[in-house]
């Protein structure tokens, strides 16, 4: 099978182009999409597919997302770009109140095939401020009926976007700004797909289970290599989708390691990490030890240097793992059940 080396941005563009080419009722809509969208992912699509499939909209998120729902009810597959994932709070009601509930309230169990995609998180320079840097998955993972995808590599971006475009459920597809610029060998095969809800064991290990997604996956990979050199064997799991979350893959790993660290870019309170730890503790057959690395409960400073102090990285993740492993020798574990 042939493959091509692509950045995350290019990989997403290729999947979207192939979808628009085969499905006349697939439409990309959003702000600035006629040029290339907010982060360049849509480059060239308007020229190729025209205004009936690449729909430039006013800066009217409630209008755009409501119209996407109307299109979906009429049998279309809207692919909506949010200019920055942070702005999804403006349309929380359209997403949670309408798209997620519609089929159940109306008892019409057909597809609600809406893919909402957009860039998320700080870029490599940082300093984008608290309106363009937040991790949005914790705000939405509480809502029943929503698929949430957080690819950590360009290859996962391609495979998971294709799966999202086959999903009967509404999907939030979060593209981390730093993952756009990574590059991977991506299969050229247009049927290349990565199933939603399946975690990837990025690295096998026996001492500690480390769970990380999005950009944190890259930081956690570095941390795992450093820890390996110190004699701590890390099993790194990237769940790839926040909903559905592959709790079973985490449970299997923790059944062997009995130690679990979650590295999450979002603030700590009520985060996805809290849910991952809770499920792991609930399902463990024996006592396990747990820890979290996260942003503090604070907003992203505009100062990039201040922001860097907040965001978890390979060093802070490695430190958390070291602390957990060393305290294992001196403190009693969390009791399961």
């Amino acid at each position: 099978m042939t493959s091509t080396r692509l950045t995350g941005r290019e990989a997403l563009n290729r999947v979207l182009a192939s979808e628009l080419a085969v499905n006349r009722r697939a439409v990309v809509m959003g702000e600035t999409v006629r040029l290339a969208g907010s982060s360049g992912v849509l480059h060239g699509l308007y020229d190729r597919f025209g205004p009936s499939q690449v729909i430039e909209t006013p800066v009217s998120e409630n209008g755009i997302f409501g119209a996407a729902l109307g299109l979906a009810l009429a049998g279309f597959r809207p692919i909506v770009e949010i200019y920055s994932a942070d702005f999804l709070l403006v349309v929380a009601n359209e997403i949670i109140g309408d798209m997620c509930k519609w089929r159940q309230q109306q008892a019409r169990p057909g597809p609600m095939p809406i893919v909402i995609r957009g860039c998320m998180g700080p870029n490599a320079k940082g300093g984008l401020g608290p309106e363009h840097s937040q991790s949005m998955e914790p705000y939405f993972h509480h809502a029943p009926g929503l698929v949430i995808v957080t690819p950590g590599t360009p290859r996962d971006m391609a495979g998971l976007l294709r799966a999202s475009l086959r999903s009967p459920d509404p999907v939030l597809f979060f593209e981390h700004r730093r993952v756009y610029d990574l590059a991977d060998e991506i299969p050229d095969d247009e049927s290349f797909i990565i199933e939603l809800g399946r975690a990837e064991v990025v690295r096998e290990g026996k001492d500690v289970t480390l769970v990380a997604w999005g950009w944190m996956r890259s930081e956690a990979e570095i941390a795992s290599s450093v820890l390996d050199a110190e004699g701590i064997s890390v099993e790194l799991i990237d769940p790839r989708t926040i909903a559905p979350m592959d709790h079973e893959a985490i449970r299997r790993s923790v059944a062997r390691t009995a130690q679990l660290v979650v590295a999450e870019e979002a603030p700590r309170t009520g985060g996805v990490g809290a849910e991952v730890l809770a499920r792991a503790v609930e399902s463990a057959a024996r006592p396990i030890r747990v820890a979290r690395v996260s942003m503090p409960d604070a907003i992203h400073p505009y100062s990039a240097s201040m922001e860097r102090l907040f965001i978890p990285n390979a060093n802070t993740i490695a430190d958390a793992v070291r602390r957990l492993v060393s305290s294992a020798r001196s403190a009693p574990p969390v009791l399961a059940r």
Binding site: R25, V27, S52, T57, P58, S60, E61, N62, G63, I64, F65, G66, A67, A68, L69, G70, L71, A72, L73, A74, G75, F76, P78, N93, E94, G97, D98, K101, W102, R103, Q104, Q105, Q106, A107, R108, P109, G110, P111, M112, P168, D169
Partner: protein, 322 residues
Amino acid sequence: MLTAKRMTVEDLASAYRVMMLSRRFDEWLGELNHRGTPVPHYHSGVGQEALMVAAVTPLRRTDQMIYTHRGYGHLLAKGISLREIALDLFMKAGGTNHGLGGVMHVNRPDLGVPGREGVFGGRFAIAAGLALAAKLDGRDEVTVCFYGEAAGARGNLYEALNMVVLWNLPVIYVAENNGWSFSSRTEWLYPEGRMSRVWRGFEIPVEVIDGNDAEEVFATVSRAVARARAGEGPSVIEALTYRLEPHIWRDKAAYQPPDEIASWRRRDPIARAARRLLELGMNQNEIDSIACWAEDEVERTIAAVEAAPDATWEDGRHQMEV
């Protein structure tokens, strides 16, 4: 300029039947409520029948309709049976949503009724999306979106308005100005109590009409529908009517002045339609027989629905397995 389509005596008689069915159903539900039987999420449409029914009559089965939660005339006029509406209202098995959405989410996509959003205001853009779908598909279907004082006060209206004019979409927004938004007068919420002023800056047709005159409602909506089908874009109709009953089942509506209610009762759209039917040559016996038919229909339907089994979680859960 498209000429207005007039209602024939047959058109008016058939609208009158649906208006009367809607009225008798409301009266029956009001009576149940008065006797203490729960009628969950019931919002009376008494007084608004001409608007609800005659605005839907010009539509085809394949046209899309977004209804308000007040009154059941829109749903009946679009072809949904009284039985289905009543089953949903009483959370019985066999309605359109098996107790998951109740009367607030009655739907029949096959009849152009995709359902209803939960929070007021979302509808403007949902209607825009439905209309956009028809346009992209090259179908000459239109979408009619009713809305009340609450939805129309939200900013969503502006975003959708700008989009439907920008894209020249086949959509008709029908403002139901019934004088009240729960306990607030429309005049307290919109300048001079008019809901359609905000649309005027876009130079699309905006008409304020007598919502209690079935013929005027029919003619105005027909004109807007013809315009939308012909690719000439959106229109807005503000229909003036009056909410004769309280806002909701638990509201006593002491804030509605009795003399105001009495004056609007004299403008009752049903009595008015009956007078027009007489003028158009129908005889009083025929008109009376419609009222009797509606009474029987409602009585039989309610009895059957009361005897129907409750929707169970098993029904609901089955529907939720998507």
